[in-house]
């Protein structure tokens, strides 16, 4: 059996008396596309924050490619191959689109510590940034200020930053939130082009897009894993309807 890209065991987290994660466990294989489903407040984004280390767990274990990362900070986990997007955009609004991607590329480059070299003259970085922008259809917007972009373009850039990290595990937190129908279709096509070398875990409420993307689904409620299985198994299970519709 191969080493999973992500393996979580007995993960728990409480804020005071509120238990937001209750003994959660999951296993994501290399190249897998996984959907995390659950109603609002189920703990989906908290789960992502626990995986990336933005929140420390109360108990449990998180392994990335077989390595225990529970004690590591967010930056060290990113260096091990975790990339993520945020539900609320976290872009560098005052900078250009290209500069945003260059920053993402610097995150895995020792050059980031250099205090005197001119960043603008690093042509290799600029070429890499151009390649990433081409993948998300933003190459022609490279010199544009992020503040002047449309919301849909910003959503693409959010994904571009995560892709620039060349992650082994990509966590997509509602990548289609707030988009129009046309924009959703465009980003859906873009997500399907993410190479299979990257295991992807996605939180998404748009069922059409989410189900067309994922092969496996985990259903979460009150921080507990209710169901875990193939797309067909979870969709046809009465508990899915119960969790979402209450009957």
């Amino acid at each position: 059996m191969s080493t999973p890209v992500l393996e979580i065991r007995d993960l728990s987290k409480s804020f005071g008396t509120l238990h937001v994660m209750n003994g959660f466990a999951i296993r994501v294989e290399a190249g897998e596309r996984r959907l995390i489903l659950g109603p609002n407040g189920a703990g989906k984004t908290t789960l992502f924050n626990l995986i990336t280390g933005e929140i420390k767990p109360g108990a449990g274990s998180v392994k990335v490619s077989g390595r225990e990362v529970s004690a590591l900070c967010t930056a060290r986990r990113a260096a091990l191959g975790i990339g993520r997007t945020y539900q609320i955009l976290t872009l560098f609004q005052r900078d250009t689109v290209e500069h945003n991607v260059i920053l993402a590329l610097l995150g895995r480059d020792k050059l980031r510590w250099h205090p005197l070299r001119n960043l603008a003259s690093r042509h290799a970085l600029r070429e890499q940034a151009h390649d990433v922008l081409q993948r998300v259809g933003l190459a022609s917007h490279a010199d544009k200020s992020v503040g002047a972009m449309s919301y849909g373009e910003k959503r693409r850039l959010e994904i571009a930053l995560a892709l620039a990290q060349q992650p082994k595990l990509l966590l997509l937190d509602e990548p289609l939130a707030g988009l129009s129908a046309d924009e959703r279709l465009q980003i859906q096509a873009m997500l399907l082009e993410i190479p299979r070398t990257i295991a992807t875990v996605m939180i998404e409420h748009d069922m059409d897009v989410a189900l067309s993307f994922a092969e496996r689904i985990s259903l979460l409620q009150h921080g507990k894993l209710i169901l875990d299985g193939s797309r067909e198994e979870v969709v046809n299970d009465p508990r899915t309807r119960e969790v979402y519709l209450g009957h």
Binding site: T52, E54, L103, L106, R108, P115, L119, Q165
Partner: protein, 327 residues
């Protein structure tokens, strides 16, 4: 704006000052030393987004270290410089470890507390610092046999150090580390997720800013040939912050313009009234209300507006031009 349009007049102004009287030359030296201090503070405030109220501690630590080594231990004025900067770097490293545990107001309060501790130490550790009386009789160095006791020679040294600091900061703002530091200011959460160690980046900037403030402290001790606890006071830190905010944060030239504006205004106002600090407060209020980003970005914005007005088709100048052509 073309950088030569700023660089050439600035270099000429620096040279021209050397031909004025001693009073003006010394005043220019004071401005440049204050500008180096304000530039170092802007590294924290403008580029890292860390508002500090204890920055003068590093200015004072370097100054006291220099004074003590030269006067009490008999070190040469040149040899004392690296020792003073090293000690300042260590102090900044320790202060940074404590202060960077907090963010926002918490960071501000910790830096304020640490600054006050340094000031208290300078006041009470009389055997080393001379207490309220400070330390006197600090000799200026004579690098390569050059006598720095004249106003012009010392000004030349300060102007050279100031130009080097500006050059280093210009490179720094365009560097990968400069971009990383600005990233931690704008989106610290995202920066962590991208693999940047936000705390380490901020700590490095804190130490660099501390050393740069120490450099200003070294020059100040040579300039005054005297040091007392007032250089470490909260007022000194607040004045530095005032210079940065008046000139404009996140702009290389902002703190330089701010230092010049504050010191010139204080000098002129003190000639007319004893309450010149109140006048300084009014100046600060006026600038914050009219140009909230500071003088440099404010003037830049005004200039852009003027240029837009000149080229706009409906302006009086363009209408007259069109009529003239029609005739």
């Amino acid at each position: 704006m073309n950088r030569w349009l700023i660089l050439i007049p600035s270099a000429l102004a620096l040279l021209a000052i050397a031909h004025l009287g001693d009073f003006y030359i010394n005043f220019a030296s004071r401005i440049l030393i204050a500008a180096i201090f304000a530039l170092s503070l802007n590294l924290l405030v403008g580029y890292a987004g860390l508002m500090s109220l204890g920055h003068s501690a590093f200015f004072g630590v370097a100054g006291y270290c220099m004074a003590w080594l030269i006067v009490t231990r008999g070190w040469s004025p040149v040899a004392a410089i690296p020792a003073a900067l090293l000690l300042t770097g260590i102090a900044a490293g320790l202060f940074g470890l404590l202060a960077l545990r907090a963010k926002g107001i918490g960071f501000l309060m910790i830096t304020l507390a640490l600054g006050q501790m340094a000031w208290g130490l300078a006041m009470r550790w009389v055997s080393v610092t001379g207490g309220d009386n400070g330390i006197r009789g600090i000799a200026r160095p004579t690098p390569f046999g050059v006598d720095l006791t004249t106003a012009t020679a010392f000004y030349a040294l300060v102007a050279t150090v100031f130009s080097l600091v500006c050059l280093v900061l210009y490179w720094f703002t365009r560097s990968p580390f400069g971009a990383s530091l600005r990233g931690t200011r704008d989106q610290p959460r995202r920066m962590s997720a991208l693999g940047f160690d936000v705390t380490l980046i901020r700590w490095s900037a804190f130490v660099a800013a501390g050393c740069m403030a120490g450099l200003a402290g070294v020059l100040d001790v040579y300039f005054n040939r005297f040091i007392d606890p007032s250089v470490l006071s909260l007022q000194s830190s607040a004045e530095g912050l005032l210079m940065v905010i008046v000139g404009g944060v996140d702009v290389l030239l902002g703190p330089v313009v701010g230092a010049a504006a504050v010191l010139i205004f204080a000098q002129v106002a003190s000639d007319y009234t004893e309450h010149w600090t109140a006048a300084l407060g009014i100046l600060f209020l006026v600038i914050v209300v009219l140009m909230p980003d500071g003088l440099v970005p404010g003037v830049r914005r005004l200039w852009t507006k003027l240029c837009t007005l000149q080229t706009a088709p409906g302006t009086l100048a363009n209408q007259l031009l069109k009529r003239g052509k029609a005739r």
